[in-house]
């Protein structure tokens, strides 16, 4: 248990009945970092976050969060942690101001009025503070939630898919705010499905089926995947996907916008397969594999337990 680790958990297991949601996850996250938590739906991201902040008791495993034991000192952890739930969980029948005041009182912030005023000001919601929180648009709800969970200056911020269903501009603003908080010394663990968001993190942890599949910096993860990727663009690309799937060396085929990415780890075989499928209206070139390619490969491999450790 090192003092400079914000999160230090080992062998976390959570079972619900006979279903194992999290299966032996280790995380050692230093203070002040911004980490991304990735993985398909149902991979155990939310459950892991809930165990870290003391909302769920781990079935097995142990660890500390901000130096406090996650099983026994949940109360202390809660005081210094801000947790933003996946679903908007503030009170929609209370106004923006009333929500913030409630949170401020629960954390015993003083003076409530002035702190809430300042929060509203920085949110740009001073004019709308008397509106019901339920009447806000998706993007504003997220901003309100972020402001509410950071009002008590937590040392650790846990964000569970904070930008799901939010428009691109709002997402960008949201991430600017996360980086600003990080420069103030906050440790941030954020789960997401967006690759561009993952690339803004110092380090990412990828979960699948409750297990940690990979952890590391984005370029390292791409490199470690040893993928060779060919990108095909042009009119006839739509017809090609089906033909390329299952060809020798082709481990996965996926669209990125209008382009087709064909990836595999065996350069010779994949090159031959792509050559064989060549046509006049499609232009092929080799590209650097993207994080998403790496993840698609990881996901495809996760079932067969090809765990890669950082």
């Amino acid at each position: 248990m090192t003092a400079d680790l914000a999160i230090d958990v080992r062998g976390l297991v959570k079972r619900f009945g006979d279903k194992t949601a999290v299966d032996g996850v280790d995380i050692q996250m230093p203070r002040g970092a911004v980490w991304g938590f990735l993985g398909p739906n149902g991979s155990g991201k939310t459950t892991t976050i809930r165990m870290i902040c003391g909302l769920l008791k781990p079935t097995e495993g142990e660890g500390s969060c901000l130096g406090y034991d996650i099983a026994r000192e949940a109360g202390r952890i809660k005081k210094q942690t801000g947790y933003m739930t996946q679903r908007f969980s503030f009170w929609s029948d209370m106004t923006i101001r009333e929500n913030l005041e409630f949170v401020a009182r629960l954390y015993q912030l003083d003076p409530v009025g002035r702190i809430v005023d300042a929060t509203l000001e920085s949110l740009g919601l001073t004019q709308r503070q008397r509106q019901l929180a339920g009447a806000l648009s998706g993007g504003w709800k997220q901003r309100l939630a972020l402001a509410a969970v950071t009002m008590h200056n937590p040392k650790l911020l846990l964000l569970d898919e904070p930008t799901a269903g939010v428009d691109p501009q709002a997402r960008r603003d949201f991430w600017d705010e996360i980086h600003r908080l990080s420069t103030e010394g906050m440790t941030v663990l954020v789960s997401t499905h967006y690759m561009d968001e993952a690339e803004r993190c110092d380090r990412i942890v990828y979960l699948a089926n409750g297990k940690k599949v990979v952890e590391g910096r984005v370029p390292a993860i791409i490199e470690r995947s040893n993928l060779v990727t060919f990108k095909g663009e042009g009119e006839g690309v739509r017809q090609l996907a089906g033909r390329l799937k299952g060809k020798p060396g082709v481990e996965h085929v996926a669209y990125f916008g209008s382009a087709l990415h064909v990836s595999g780890t065996d350069r010779d075989k994949i090159e031959q397969s792509v050559l064989a499928a060549r046509s006049d209206d499609v232009e092929w070139r080799e590209v650097r594999a993207s994080l998403e390619d790496a993840f698609i490969a990881l996901m495809a491999g996760a079932g067969a337990d090809t765990r890669v450790h950082a």
Binding site: R50, L55, L56, T85, R87, S89, L106
Partner: protein
Amino acid sequence: MTGARASLSRIWAVFMKELVQMRRDRLTFGMMFGIPIVQLILFGFAINTDPRNLPTAVHLEEQTPIVRTILSGLEVSGYYDIVMETPDPRETADLLARGEVAFVVSIPAGFTERLIRGDRPQILIEADASDPAAASNAIARAEAIISSALRLDLRGPLENLAARRQPFEVVVHAKYNPEGITQYNIVPGLLGVILTMTLVMITGMAMTREVERGTMENLLAMPARPLEVMAGKIAPYVLIGGIQTVVILTAARFLFDVPFVGALWMLLLGVAVFVLANLALGFTFSTIAQSQMQAMQLTFFFFLPSLLLSGFMFPFRGMPGWAQAIGETLPLTHFLRIVRGVMLKGADFTQLLTSLLAMSTFTLVVIGIVMARYRRTLD
């Protein structure tokens, strides 16, 4: 025709969907079948508007064969159940106020002698008439019961007495509500019924609402202890209970002219404990129910027996022993004794202590359950 068929198939689709959802909601499903059966059996056997075997104390100033005949006649009638004999006439008022007995039958010294002389001596029956329905049949039949019992004894030289009009006189003192005004009994009782109804339901829904709207996770993630959340959630409703009490008591006084002979502080103490009992129960319901709808159903599940087995609607003493035992566990039963005791009988504190203790026990047990059940975590 195809339009009608299409419409039918859509109705069928919705019908099937409702059935599936109904089956998923176990609690509701159980209540739809379990509750009617339980209630039918419970209330069908328990409710009796012609209560018998009412506990009776006797105060006898003489012991003669005639007196024994009268007493056995009362017993045999099925209405009076003689549970004790009290030598001290001053104790009779206390027994009634405490609710230990429903009647006190007093037979004065020299009764037999005066009966034989043809003086028409008096038998005194003091009755707890705070619930007019409970006592009325037993009182109405008292004279007939006694005279038919005496008919066997009044033979030979005494036959002429039997032939005359009643050789004795039954004097009834209907205490606490001499005119048998129903409101005197119902209005104070309604205080308890209204408090039960509103408080259990509101608190039952208060916590469930957080779960239903997903705000529970947020509340749990913030630093508030279970007891703190519970206290904070219950406090506003204590206030509401207080306001309801003031409104009902004011109406009882000025609208229904219900007498208030006891001490107000005693009633308020009873109200306080009763309100807490109901709020704690409502809170427990909210930890069991998955939705506000279920919380509502649980409230009704509790409310109906409270109404029917507490002595509010039907005489408590008219119920069989097992039903009285269930009734004894309900806070409303004890609250009714307190509110009627204070308002109508002017009962003193020691007379109410048992009821207060019973309600407090209920509250503590329920709080214990709720503390064990309340989820500190989302598990």
